[in-house]
Symmetry: C2
Subunit: 144 residues, 2 copies
Amino acid sequence: MKNDSLSQKNTTRPTHHLPHLTRNQQAVLAVLRQQSDALSAQELYGVLREQQAIGLATVYRALETLKLQGLVQSRSGTNGEALHSPIEQDRHYLTCLHCGQSFLLDHCPVHDLAVQVHLSVPFKIYYHTLEFFGLCEPCTHQRS
Amino acid sequence: MKNDSLSQKNTTRPTHHLPHLTRNQQAVLAVLRQQSDALSAQELYGVLREQQAIGLATVYRALETLKLQGLVQSRSGTNGEALHSPIEQDRHYLTCLHCGQSFLLDHCPVHDLAVQVHLSVPFKIYYHTLEFFGLCEPCTHQRS
DNA sequence: GGTATTATGAGAATGATTATCATTCGCTTA
DNA sequence: TAAGCGAATGATAATCATTCTCATAATACC
Ligand SMILES: [Mn+2]
Ligand SMILES: [Mn+2]
Ligand SMILES: [Zn+2]
Ligand SMILES: [Zn+2]
């Protein structure tokens, strides 16, 4: 019962340099990666609970850890809650101030420049957020 | 008593096209314009109360109106609260995920591109938000 | 093993933003 | 100038995402 190959109790194989991810942190990352779009912590919590037992506080803590690790990025949703997604994702939106609708931008204008960003201070950039606000066509008409 | 030059009871001179601003909305805009950096609704509320009587709800409603009017812009602060500033302002930051410190970018990389943004849908852009996240020099060292 | 350290969860606490709703204001019209 | 009416206001309650507490469990380290 020591050498059992069943119990994958090992949360992570003790590599050396990077802080390892716990079972929960891995689960959070896995869910984010299999989702097509960003999730709020609450939504993430809901999805995770269908697969395993986990506390809400743990989800929040995992997200924080994953961000520090450069594995996850977050942006603020229209309603204020934070939306999380794997660091690979590079999407941005146009959001209407009147109806709240968001339109996905077909290309990130910053991605290229990112590196060129003239920094006055040494800083290691992990990701960026970019969003445009204004009025969608229909809303420019409506009064009020 | 009609031509009194004292009572500036007129909230706005009835121009024609744009919806006029109420006294309170003007006050909110005025404060934002005289501030060097973005303010949260709560801070704005505090400043305003020193000058006049106004309700917190009104501050929130004024900000919403001013945004629809293209006079004010908002972004999300690190702690979640929304920060507001006059539309003219075009500042962006580098924010450290570890210590939370923010560094003002000396130049907006998007401003130029803004117009070029390839839109798949007709949309009238009022403003944009842009922020970089990562680790500041000191924080890249510290363990944890 | 045996202890020090970190992670976890349940639930309370916090705090910004919204929703209510009764009252007041401002403009139009008679 | 007075009455009418819809928008604006403000005090307050309600929401709700996120954080904090603290006792317990898991894991690392020797
Ligand atoms: Mn991008
Ligand atoms: Mn800009
Ligand atoms: Zn719209
Ligand atoms: Zn830092």
